[in-house]
Structures are given as structure tokens and as C-alpha cells.
């Protein structure tokens, strides 16, 4: 199976220095469970950012760099490279960490290449001509999806951990540099400010909520039936 792992230029949340995005390293680890290392390529559109090159130390052996201005929209360059390489599977992080961090790029790529996309995978297996994906949902829930190939899958933080960094592998990794396709990024008239922590909504602990239903000294059976009926109403199916 031919796998492309999309790598973005990550930044450390505290120091702001280049650092790989953890979910993208987890994507590499998942890819290595699926296929031999020689069939897995890292792909980045932008500059040879140290954070991207460091992915070579985490189990990746080849990396393709599409050289463009990092301020550009990477979509066109990535789409063209995917057309050329024809991978069976494209892995991405669920959110980047260091750019706009909107997690939108994989979806735009899926749309541009008419590939199906599934989010938040923690395990991937081939299933005949399809892919079996295990999705992580909130509250410990899991969903199993069958996805047609080729597909784009984004990886969740609950996926197996990334491989440890090895300096020798980082040095010996192969890097292919190609010119990318310059494309202006969608106009964003954002104002950028240092992040300010805002309070979350306070829990309504002391406020009596809207008058509930009160049962005074019911028989245990009526009480139990009422509890079951109430609970079923709010239980997720």
C-alpha cells in the first residue's frame, strides 16, 4: 500500500520554536503498522522547516518537499503531487499546530481530489479493496467505518504513540525537493493578537434548575420504572 503522510510546519505551544505536530508523528506510526517504510512518503508544501525535517527521525525514510512560500495556499501543490504519486491512502493530522490550525486542509484536499475523508482515526486496517477505520469519539465511544480507497484519513490524539526520535535516521532520510505551485491563500482579513485566556462558562452549580419531577414515597417498582424511563431519554444510542 502506497501511503502519503501530510506534514505541516509545527510550533511549540509554549516556546514557539519549530517542533513536529504530535498527531502527524502518530500518523507516521500508524502508517508503519500498515505498510513497509519504503512505501511511506512524507509530504510538505512550504519551506524546509526544521519541524518537518525532524519527522525523518520518527520513522519516516523519505520526504517530499514542495517548495513554496509558507504564506501561500498549499492546496494546489499538494493536490498536484497526489495526482502524480497516486497513493492508496493519505494521512493527516486532525489539526495543525503552528499555522491557522483549523484542520480544514485535509477536507479541501479531499474535495479537490474527489477522495472520501474520515476524521479522528485511531486504527486503520485494509479491508479487501476498502479501508477499515476505527474512529475515536468523545466519552470513550468508538465508531468503525468502511472507507473506499484511495482515501484521506485524519488522525486523533488517542492513536498509538509516535516513534521516538532517532538522530541517525533523521540524518540518513532522503529528501526530494521540487518546486511547488504558488497560489495565494484565501484572503483572510484577520487581526492577530497575543492569545488571551478567556473564562469558560461557569457551571450552574448553586442555581436550582427548572423545577424537576418529584415523586413522594412511590412504590419501589414505580420509582424504578420512572428512573429507567428518565435515563433512557438521555442515553446515547
Amino acid at each position: 500500500m502506497n501511503i502519503i503522510v501530510l506534514l505541516s510546519a509545527g510550533r511549540d505551544p509554549h516556546a514557539g520554536t519549530p517542533r513536529p505536530v504530535p498527531v502527524e508523528l502518530q500518523a507516521i506510526a500508524l502508517a508503519l503498522r500498515l505498510a513497509p517504510a519504503t512505501t511511506i512518503t512524507g509530504l510538505h508544501a512550504g519551506e524546509p522547516d526544521p519541524s518537518v525535517l525532524d519527522a525523518l527521525g520518527h520513522g519516516l525514510t523519505t520526504l517530499t518537499l514542495l517548495l513554496t512560500n509558507p504564506a501561500n495556499d498549499p492546496l494546489a501543490a499538494l493536490a498536484a503531487e497526489i495526482d502524480r504519486a497516486r497513493p492508496d491512502l493519505v494521512l493527516a493530522g486532525r489539526r495543525g499546530r503552528g499555522g491557522t490550525d483549523s484542520g480544514l486542509l485535509p477536507y479541501r484536499l479531499a474535495r479537490a481530489r474527489a477522495m472520501p475523508i474520515a476524521a479522528d482515526a485511531i486504527a486503520i486496517e485494509p479491508d479487501g479493496n476498502d479501508l477499515a477505520i476505527l474512529q475515536s469519539l468523545p466519552r470513550g465511544a468508538r465508531r468503525r467505518l468502511t472507507l473506499a480507497r484511495p482515501a484521506i484519513v485524519t488522525i486523533h490524539e488517542a492513536a498509538p504513540p509516535a516513534r521516538a526520535f532517532a538522530y541517525r535516521a533523521r540524518r540518513n532520510g532522503t529528501i526530494h525537493e521540487k518546486p511547488g505551485i504558488p497560489a495565494p491563500s484565501p484572503t483572510d482579513n484577520h487581526e492577530i493578537r497575543p492569545y488571551r485566556q478567556r473564562p469558560r462558562l461557569i457551571a450552574e452549580t448553586t442555581q436550582p434548575t427548572t423545577a424537576g419531577h418529584l415523586m413522594l414515597a412511590p412504590t419501589p417498582e414505580t420509582a424504578a420504572a420512572a428512573v429507567l424511563a428518565y435515563v433512557e431519554q438521555f442515553r446515547r444510542r
Binding site: G140, R143, Q233, R236
Partner: protein, 355 residues
């Protein structure tokens, strides 16, 4: 920030001024009981018949009921709509018991997305079509797992930028973190916005009247997601702070083996009050409360728990509480959506027998 208004607070405490001034200092906000005889009338719902423009709120409504995040999404759309515009809520089919939930949360219209199973590709198509049909100014999504996925699908489909995970929202400005959370982006609200949980207040005003609108009509195209099944998770293995349904034992419970057995049969994650953990009857890891675990559950069943403030802190965000207690005046009774004044042991046995 909300500033205190001491005069208004004092006025709210006045029970009577003649023959002498009487204050009720235990009163915790809200309105005093209306004097006997005064008719209590429900406010007439606000009806926006001819909206100046439309706002969309796309909610998840998992299990057919609105959760906190869903109400915040409708609240955000309400904020953007103001008084003259209508909020159109796009929702999967709702359970029968919650018909006016949309109006109470601030929605003026509902569009029910007729998707029987998990099919985000189809839902995105339907929403994209609804956007073309109704041309809303904004579309607000919850930045949750499935809600965020749907928002991105719609963004890709309509070739629009998504303002993902907004933490602050007014009609003129939205703010969200970026660059690994080191900066924040401020912009005038773009068309597609997803809001982070517990950041934007739900609507608490006079309920609106929510009228149904027809579902968008677009031919289904086969998608790439061939099959989807939600896997059953063992409630006992879910960490307490993530569990959707928690059943907890307090000092009013004596049969703890029976309690754990009931939790297993009910598919609920077991919890306990501090007194029970202190006594060693249940492990410390099960303690719910300020010095234990703060829950994120949807539903909480409290057996023989008085509802001390430290315990209530642990269930502050839980919306649906069942309390079974012999004491009508226990604090937990005031917090409960279903309060049962009965012996916890008897109800536990009856419950176990029914499962």
C-alpha cells in the same frame, strides 16, 4: 464581566416593607413567589414572522435531544441574528419529548435533516443545498467531534473558509486561537463559524416559536463511507470524567456489592460520595466532587447522596440528575430533574429486578 448591583440585590431580598422591613437573605436570585391569587402566565413565545435575514445553527442533537453545546450553538446564532432576524436550526430528527426545546433555546425555524444513519457526506450536501436555498448570513456549528467534521465538509463543499473553534462571538467580531494557541485571530464573523464548547452563552430569554421548514431537496450521490457502526463500550472501562451516564452511591446506600452489580446491569459508570470512599466501601478513584472527579456526564443518578456543595461541584455541568433520597429537603433534590423520596435500597433492588 457582570458587576454587582447592591441596591438591586437588596431590593430583590425584600419580602415585605410593612409593618416592618423584612429581608430574605437566603434567597439566591430569581423571583420570589408571586403573592397568592396573582395568576402565573407563561410568556407568549416570540414569533418572527418576517425576518430581515436568516442565521443557521447546525446542531448535533445526539440521541434526539439537545445538549449543552447544541444550545450554545443556537445561542450564538441568536446573538448574530439579533431581534429581527430568524435563527434556522438544522437538526437530525428530534425525540418526541423535546418539541419546544428548539424554541426555548432561541430557534425560530427548524429544518430536519432526514438522514437515518451516520452519513456526514449526505448531511453536508443537504446543508450546502439549504445554504443555497435560504442564503443565511452565517452558519454556526458546534466544534465537537462530529459537528466539527460536518462543518469542515460543508466548508470544503461550499469552497468557504471555516472560522474554527471560536471562543468569543459578537455580531461584529469573532475570536479564535491559532498558531499553537499562542495568538488569537479576530475577524468580522465570516459565513461559516464553529464554536468551542462552553465559551458562548446559550439563550435564556423569552422562548421563540419554532416553525418547521421543508428539508432541502438534493439527489443523493453514493459517498465514500460504505458502512458505519458505533461500537458498544463497556461503561466500567470509561474514565469517570468521560462517562456519559454515572450512578453514584452515598451514605444512604448500604449494599455496595448490589450497587456495583446494578451499575453493570444498567451500563452506567459507578461513582461515590466522599463519605463512602472515606469509609473504604468503594475505591477512592470513584469519588465524585471537588476533591474527586468532576464529571462531564449527560445523566447522573445519585443514590442516598445529600448533595453537599463539594459534591455538587463535581456535577456542575451535568444537566439531567436523578436523586433518590429519603430526605425531601436534601440539597440534591433541588438540583434533580427527577427526585424520588424513597429508600435507596428498595429502589436499587427494584431497578436490578427490571434489567
Amino acid at each position: 464581566m457582570i458587576r454587582r448591583d447592591p441596591r438591586a440585590e437588596r431590593d430583590a431580598m425584600v419580602v415585605s416593607r410593612t409593618p416592618r422591613l423584612r429581608l430574605d437573605r437566603t434567597h439566591r436570585g430569581g423571583t420570589l413567589l408571586a403573592p397568592a391569587g396573582a395568576p402565573v402566565t407563561a410568556p407568549t413565545p416570540i414569533h418572527i414572522a418576517e425576518p430581515t435575514f436568516l442565521e443557521f445553527a447546525v446542531i448535533e442533537a445526539a440521541g434526539g435531544a439537545l445538549n449543552r453545546h447544541d444550545r450554545q450553538v443556537i445561542g450564538a446564532a441568536r446573538t448574530l441574528a439579533g431581534r429581527d432576524a430568524a435563527v434556522v436550526v438544522l437538526t437530525p430528527p428530534l425525540a418526541a419529548q423535546a418539541p419546544d426545546a428548539i424554541g426555548t433555546a432561541g430557534g425560530d425555524r427548524t429544518i430536519t435533516l432526514p438522514t437515518p444513519t451516520y452519513d456526514p457526506e449526505r448531511n453536508a450536501q443537504l446543508i450546502a443545498q439549504a445554504i443555497i436555498d435560504h442564503a443565511p448570513r452565517h452558519v454556526v456549528f458546534p466544534e465537537s467531534a462530529d459537528g466539527g467534521d460536518l462543518a469542515r465538509r460543508v466548508a470544503a463543499l461550499t469552497d468557504a473558509v471555516l472560522f474554527a473553534g471560536a471562543e468569543s462571538l459578537t455580531p461584529t467580531q469573532v475570536i479564535r486561537p491559532a498558531q499553537a494557541g499562542r495568538v488569537e485571530l479576530r475577524a468580522t464573523p465570516p459565513r461559516l463559524i464553529s464554536i468551542a464548547p462552553d465559551r458562548i452563552a446559550p439563550y435564556h430569554g423569552t422562548p421563540h416559536a419554532a416553525d418547521p421548514l421543508p428539508a432541502p431537496d438534493v439527489a443523493a450521490t453514493p459517498g465514500g463511507i460504505r458502512a458505519a457502526t458505533t461500537l458498544a463500550v463497556d461503561a466500567a472501562t470509561i474514565p469517570l470524567d468521560q462517562a456519559p451516564l454515572v450512578i453514584a452511591a452515598g451514605n444512604g446506600v448500604t449494599d455496595f456489592a448490589g450497587f456495583l452489580d446494578l451499575a453493570r446491569a444498567l451500563g452506567a459508570t459507578p461513582g461515590a460520595s466522599r463519605v463512602v470512599c472515606d469509609a473504604g466501601a468503594l475505591p477512592r478513584a470513584l469519588q465524585v466532587g471537588a476533591s474527586g472527579t468532576v464529571l462531564n456526564a449527560e445523566c447522573y443518578i445519585a443514590l442516598g447522596i445529600s448533595g453537599a456543595p463539594q459534591h455538587l461541584q463535581g456535577i456542575g455541568t451535568v444537566e439531567h440528575i436523578v436523586a433518590i433520597n429519603t430526605d425531601l429537603h436534601a440539597a440534591i433534590i433541588a438540583r434533580a430533574g427527577l427526585a424520588i423520596i424513597a429508600d435507596a435500597q428498595d429502589v436499587m433492588q427494584a431497578l436490578r429486578a427490571m434489567l
